[in-house]
């Protein structure tokens, strides 16, 4: 019955900075997601969410939502975001500051770089099992392709294709370069 399944269901899950992050790099920041795997009621409403906190000059690698639209709401600080559509056009290239929201349609590529000390955001996603695909870094879409396919795809020498696969060891968040870190300190 409804009363057995809904009335006592769990409706709350904390994803704020104080909670245990799913993605963490002390030099770059943290990300926590909540999907229907964590909070089963989300399967009913077909929504999920993500909370992120990026240190100054840290980058969230270019990525896209496979199966969801998203609304990125800036909670604190500001970041530089770029969004690209299927025709390779930059549809957003600007700052997102606290209190503003940016809608990123499904499959549009997006990347962010924190401009302030701590950029915090919450992203609402229109799928209870929203997933992202990363376009840079370790285990990204580029890494999943054979070296020769990558070289032929981008018209690169094999050595350059190797660099493309190997040079960034980070998966989601890239810490600021050493010089940028020193400048912040």
């Amino acid at each position: 019955g409804l009363e057995e399944t809904v009335c006592s269901a769990k409706y709350r899950e904390n994803i704020g900075s104080s909670s245990s992050p799913d993605i963490y790099n002390p030099q770059a920041g943290r990300i926590k997601t909540v999907t229907s795997l964590d909070l089963p009621i989300l399967r009913w409403i077909k929504l999920s969410a993500e909370h992120g906190s990026l240190h100054k000059n840290a980058i969230f690698v270019p990525h896209y939502n496979l199966n969801a639209n998203s609304a990125i709401y800036a909670l604190r600080g500001r970041a530089w975001l770029q969004v690209v559509n299927c025709n390779g056009n930059t549809v957003f290239d600007g700052e997102l500051e606290a209190g503003r929201v940016l809608i990123v349609p499904q499959n549009f590529a997006v990347a962010a770089k924190a401009l302030s000390d701590k950029f915090q955001y919450v992203s609402f996603k229109t799928n209870d099992r929203a997933a992202i695909a990363r376009l840079a870094g370790s285990s990204s879409t580029l890494n999943g392709m054979p070296l020769d396919v990558l070289a032929a795809t981008f018209n690169l020498e094999r050595n350059d294709a190797r660099q493309l696969k190997n040079n960034n060891p980070f998966k989601f968040l890239v810490p600021p370069r050493e010089s940028e870190r020193r400048a912040v300190a």
């Binding site: 270019p62 770029q82 025709n87 499959n107 997933a131 879409t141 392709m145 070296l147």
Partner: protein, 284 residues
Amino acid sequence: PQQNECQFERLNALEPDNRVESEGGLIETWNPTNRQFRCAGFALSRATLQRNSLRRPFYSNAPQEIFIQQGNGYFGMVFPGCPETFEEPRESEQGEGRRFRDSHQKVNRFREGDIIAVPTGVAFWMYNDQETPVIAISLTDMSSHQNQLDQMPRRFYLAGNHEQEFLLYQKQQVRGKEEQESEGSNIFSGFKRDFLEDALNVNRHIVDRLQGRNEDEEKGAIVKVKGGLSIISPPERQPRHQSRSRQDEERWQPRPHKSRREEEDDEKHSRHHDQGGSRWKQDN
């Protein structure tokens, strides 16, 4: 579909009405804004790949079902979060004096008559390594719940500097509403160079290639590969119904029942054989 979209008095057999030529083949599309397609909620395209041609990786805003009408070759899909399970052996390291050993996600072979299922947002590529041109018919299910955009099929290419096959219809739809600034590039081309240099930790030359800025980048969605691709892949097996000999057939018959003693003897023999054959197979 919108109201009355499917109220047909007559149906027509349709031919593709758009053709985008590439260095290594061509992609033909049927107009997805045609009423019959709008009613059915899907889009259709046909790709032809010449020998040694690679369809560059792309992903779509809806799931696809691809039928191989002719030819055979390789295809790959890159699933986010999945491990790179195909690895180059150590021998090649010594043989060619290389330190780098490539690894990537699973690569599959396709042949005539195959259906390939491609999930939404998963990057897909295919390659023709044979003489016969590959012809692949692709249905993109726009009405799938996995598509959260509008009913227009969209291809997100990871590389190149070419017009994506459904762009023509998009332009027809937006004409008069808003002008598109530029067209025909890949998803990397919209990012700032500096940004990609930092995100990928590579030099400007590689970023330019990634963004399709190099001078000879007018090859289209399907490119020719000089000398062919070298892909880590297991040797091809003949389909069982063709290769199975009479002896094989007999092996497939149900085995006669054995007594416990006979089974123990078999096991002993098998262990002995294993120990002789490989020193790695030891008790823990």
